[in-house]
């Protein structure tokens, strides 16, 4: 029942998408293109920080950083 409700809600939301228009035009995105607004600015320092955390914490993943494996535990 819950799943059915979830599906109906999802379908209703997506149905709404068809009439939804992009509300931030390309010429309004100048501020978003600034490096201070990027989720990831530089690759190597991100990988270093992610690696230093991943070998010490139980949690992992969904950081957007692609690293390599190691036996550093």
């Amino acid at each position: 029942m819950k799943r059915l409700l979830a599906l109906i809600t999802l379908a209703a939301l997506l149905g709404g998408c068809s009439s939804l228009q992009p509300w931030v035009k390309p010429y309004e995105r100048e501020r978003l293109a600034d490096p201070i607004m990027a989720f990831s600015r530089d690759n190597l320092p991100e990988r270093h920080r992610d690696h230093a955390r991943e070998v010490r914490e139980g949690a992992r993943g969904a950081t957007g950083v692609q690293g390599g494996g190691c036996g550093c535990n």
Binding site: L10, P22, E28, D34, P35, D42, H48, E57, T63, C70
Partner: protein, 364 residues
Amino acid sequence: MAATDLLRRIGAFVGSLLAVGGARALDLPADKAEALFHSYSGGGVTANGPALLVRKSVADTVSLSASYYLDAVSNASIDVVTTASKFRENRNEYSFGADYVYRDSQISLGLNTSREPDYTANRYSLDIAQETFGGMTTVSLGFTRGSDTVLKHDAPEFRDAVTHWQYRVGVTQILTPRWIASANFEAISDDGYLGSPYRVARVFGAAVPERNPRTRSSRAMNFRVNGDLGSRDALHLSYRYFWDTWDIKAHTLEGGYSRYIGESFLADGTLRYYRQGKALFYSDNAQSETTYVSRNRQLSTFNSIGVGGKLTYSWRKVPGKYEIKFNGSYEFVRFKYDDFTDIRTGSLYGYNANVLQLYMTANF
């Protein structure tokens, strides 16, 4: 059954997003070089070394990248000094990547190999990103397959393997001309030898080799938002929830602030809080015999608080040609364990760590 159902729903959602694709094309990643010196020291471990990365487009639609990363590790951590002797070793990592952009889509292939004397890890990955909804939404899907070989010093009879599967999906959404948000989900499954052949557990006070399950599956959801505050400054917030089949649950909260100072400087400040609960089979000193037992403090109950700062100096800039920047960052991290005893003192363990990065970037 539930997993298939979930995948089908995600597929339907992604499909519907793709169906409203806009006309704006994705940009190929910019040509860039990075040279980094990194250093980590804390809890008796120091790991440092150089890393290099070069990214160059070879045609209008393809960008290639290659990187090298060295970790020179000196390990005298609490696990090592209480059960073995200090050691030094190097880890060399090589990565290659290729990105292909066609209209609103980007396809990325990655190869990565990491080598230590007693551990080899290989990864390959495929990621697809699709810009849609007039360029306001970017949907990404990715997959990584990894295979590791585990060896043990002075024990040629020991050889084991691990296989990893990683699946990820993400959405980045422009909310307003000043705010952007992203949601990422990643599922990781491991199969094989998931412990350390050197580490010991404690059962009734006696040291025994640790015994870990040979499978693990984890899920992580990460929500991020960046906002332009209007005075050449920005706010960053993120929250990640993690859970796995070993019963570890973790929360990560991060906040940051960035601000330009004058024409040449950019300053960043970050604050990070991490907290996790222990794995089912983790025990500081087990009081019963169980199939699995570990005293790996990575699987214990602990929290860490990190405070960091970064300064970027734009040295040379010729618009449209090149830009060279120098960067320095430092993070102080405090680890505090709730159920891991320092057996040298009998009190709960904790330590401070220093993470330093000095690097140069060049866009050309």
